[in-house]
């Protein structure tokens, strides 16, 4: 049989696709912000010197990094409902993605914080800065700057991985695609279009993180210091 591709029935649904893409970016945004905060505290916990906290943070990181996101999503979904808690699919998806990316971010941030040399910390101590102030001014921000490319890649991977939340019926881009293909019987065209939208979203995200780096790291903006 001949190959007859018809993209128009898919492209006619651009409104649904746009809604799905927006939800995908929303999920990614929430997970990146919350996961980023978890990452900072997780990394501090893993370095902090308290053996119990170190072990707990370590178990969290290893547990998440060595199990599939799909299974984590099911565990959060069914775990919450077995506790009698009812949340929307979007909330469950956001929680699961946050827990997931928080573990990866913890590991990346730890590498960044560990890269700050002792002299920097001693200089800050010598100036009388408190432990929290030293973390904020001398370890966290310069540390994040060091690992910014790795963080960006991880966050893009997270955005792509959010497609898995379609399996618990979060109405993001992949779920929209599943719906469109079941209505149009144009699976091939649908998934090609959606794949390209994801590629575009990846570029948008990378560009966004590049812009953000200019705002976050003024030295980089002024001197062009490579990340």
């Amino acid at each position: 049989m001949g190959l007859e591709l018809d993209f128009s029935v898919v492209l006619d649904r651009w409104r649904s696709l746009l809604d799905g893409a927006t939800l995908t970016l929303q999920l990614a945004f929430i997970a990146v912000v919350c996961g980023g905060i978890i990452g900072v505290f997780g990394a501090i916990g893993r370095r902090g010197g308290n053996p119990l906290v170190e072990r707990l943070c370590g178990a969290y990181v290893e547990g998440i990094r060595n199990t599939p996101l799909l299974v984590q999503i099911f565990l959060v979904y069914f775990g919450l409902s077995s506790l009698g808690l009812k949340f929307s699919a979007f909330t469950v998806a956001a929680v699961a993605l946050t827990i997931n990316v928080g573990a990866y971010t913890t590991e990346i941030m730890r590498a960044g914080f560990d890269s700050i040399v002792k002299g920097q910390i001693e200089a800050a101590e010598g100036l009388g800065l408190s432990k929290a102030q030293i973390y904020w001014h001398v370890i966290i921000w310069p540390g994040i700057e060091r690992v910014y490319p790795a963080l960006t890649s991880q966050f893009v991977l997270l955005m792509l991985a959010s497609s898995v939340t379609s399996q618990i019926s979060a109405e993001e881009l992949t779920a929209v695609a599943n719906y469109i293909q079941s209505e149009t019987y144009r699976s091939f065209e649908t998934y090609i279009v959606v794949a390209l939208i994801y590629v575009a979203l990846s570029f948008v995200m990378r560009f966004g993180f590049w812009l953000l780096s200019l705002a976050l790291f003024p030295r980089r903006r002024r001197l062009g210091t490579p990340l």
Partner: protein, 220 residues
């Protein structure tokens, strides 16, 4: 298979776990071979090949594996190519792994110190001789820890084959759950099985990385 969790359920899960391993091996071998070509393409002297390989990597690394799975199972079927879930999952994993491993290996090839390339050129070796005899043996040493690390990603990502109906570990869990409805228990068991497959690989990767760091001066 209804009722409470029994030995048959566990056997069924074990069977699924074997297919998870099987699909991982297929993905590693297929993706490894294709990834090797991608890596060579990325460092090729031909502009066209470099561009082609780079475009491939950009496209695949910008697309979720889940969408690739759907595309190769439902998409191909819709345009007349009916393939089995195993073939669809294997092909998707291969395509996916090739892009990531190709990019990791390109980095390793480029990490071989510059003087080695120049020394090989000075010996009047042909380009392919230089690659095979000088560069690749060193690149393989550099590539081992990150490749083992990426195997963890491969094993975890095979779980997505469940969505096209391939009965690996996650899918077998879903099937059992359909008759028992103990989702939290079953997915916890599945998570533990994945963990026991992946954690040793993670540990091994880290150990290799540490020894590689200690041996680094010998490489330079």
């Amino acid at each position: 298979m209804g009722g409470s969790l029994n030995i048959n359920h566990l056997l069924f899960l074990g069977h699924g776990a074997l297919w998870t391993i099987g699909l991982s091996v297929i993905a590693l071998v297929g993706g490894g071979l294709a990834g090797f070509l991608v890596a060579l393409g990325r460092v090729s002297p031909s502009r066209t090949l470099r561009l082609l390989a780079a475009t491939y990597v950009q496209l695949i690394q910008g697309t979720p594996l889940l969408v690739i799975m759907f595309l190769s199972f439902f998409g191909l079927a819709a345009i007349g190519f009916n393939i089995s879930p195993l073939a669809a999952a294997g092909a998707s994993m291969t395509i996916f792994v090739a892009a990531y491993l190709g990019e990791i290996w390109r980095g390793c090839i480029e990490a071989v110190p510059r003087p080695q390339w120049e020394a090989a050129e000075g010996l009047a070796l042909s380009r392919s001789q230089r690659m095979v005899k000088v560069i690749l043996p060193q690149a393989i040493r550099i590539a081992t820890p990150p490749t083992v690390g990426f195997m963890v990603q491969i094993v975890k990502n095979t779980s997505l084959a469940s969505v096209v109906g391939f009965v690996e570990l996650t899918r077998s869990g879903q099937i059992i759950n359909n008759s028992m409805f103990e989702p939290f228990l079953i997915y916890s068991i599945i998570a533990v099985v994945y963990f026991s497959l992946c954690y040793p690989l993670s540990r091994l990767s880290r150990r290799l990385e540490r020894t590689a760091l200690q041996k680094k001066p010998a490489l330079a």
